[in-house]
């Protein structure tokens, strides 16, 4: 959760760089809307509750959820023209890339 919070905190910098953010969670749309409102997120959250996209990307963390359910591992992709141009997979789910380095990666991909 703190990862989304952190991105929202730097939302102006992302906007200025022309970076659109889309979050994806394994939760229902209702739950996502709650989270979005609670954290005041200004970017959408998609619901991949059947893990279709999560599986297609190969980022399923089997039994990684609180109740042993399958969930996505934390991951960030920068997509351009339908192609993955950059990705970040943490090796420790407590530790995520911070907004600064993510923005730098975005600027590199967008060529600005």
């Amino acid at each position: 959760m703190s990862a989304l919070d952190g991105l929202q905190g730097e939302i102006e910098s992302f906007r200025a760089a022309g970076a659109q953010i889309i979050a994806v969670s394994p939760d229902s749309t209702e739950k996502n809307e709650q989270v979005r409102q609670n954290l005041g997120l200004e970017f959408p959250i998609l619901s991949d509750s059947d893990l279709v996209l999560t599986k297609a990307l190969g980022i399923v963390h089997e039994g990684g959820g609180m109740e042993g359910e399958d969930i996505p591992r934390p991951a960030i992709f920068i997509v351009r023209d339908g192609t993955v141009r950059w990705r970040s997979l943490t090796d420790n789910w407590r530790v995520r890339i911070r907004p600064g380095p993510l923005l730098a990666a975005f600027e590199q991909v967008s060529g600005r």
Binding site: S2, F14, G18, A19, Q20, I21, I22, A23, V24, S25, P26, D27, T29, K31, E33, V35, R36, P44, I45, L46, S47, D48, V52, L53, T54, A56, L57, G58, I59, V60, H61, E62, G64, G65, M66, I71, P72, R73, P74, A75, I76, F77, I78, V79, R80, G82, V84, R85, R87, L89, T90, N92, W93, R94, V95, R96, R98, L102, F106, V109
Partner: protein, 135 residues
């Protein structure tokens, strides 16, 4: 100074719980957990100090001091386990869509009521962030 017998476990348990409830919110405290590990070390040190004193003075204090040390030690072990072992339990990155490969085309329901396909976003390039869900 009998304080250390109860103060140790109180500090240690607070150090453990506050990591999850408070400090995990900020990357500077979350990433290395340095602050909470430090608090737990203080709690455990107080318990050990109390144990040493109790062993000298004897009597009922020894049982209390052992209890105090067990509680502080368990709290410290729990955070160390979480930070240095449990949070590294992730599947291998093998087989994950790599740089240069196509983003799979899947339409998903968005909080704004639309169906969005992250391989064809309205704005290009786009940052797609996967998280583990809200618990």
């Amino acid at each position: 100074m009998q304080h250390s017998l109860w103060l140790g476990p109180v500090i240690a348990v607070a150090g453990l719980l506050s990591y999850f409830t408070v400090f995990a919110r900020w990357p500077m405290f979350r990433d290395t957990a340095w602050f909470n590990l430090l608090v737990l070390a203080v709690g455990l040190a107080l318990s050990l100090l109390g144990l040493r004193r109790a062993l000298v003075r004897g009597g009922w204090r020894i049982a209390a001091a052992i209890g105090s040390t067990v509680i502080s030690g368990t709290a410290a072990a729990a955070l160390v386990y979480y930070v240095f072992f449990l949070s590294y339990q992730l599947p291998s990155a093998e087989g994950v869509t790599a740089v240069g490969e196509a983003m799979p085309s899947v339409a998903l329901a968005s909080t704004d009521g639309r169906q969005l396909d992250v391989s064809r976003p309205d704005s290009d390039p786009t940052i797609v962030v996967f998280y583990r869900g809200f618990w």
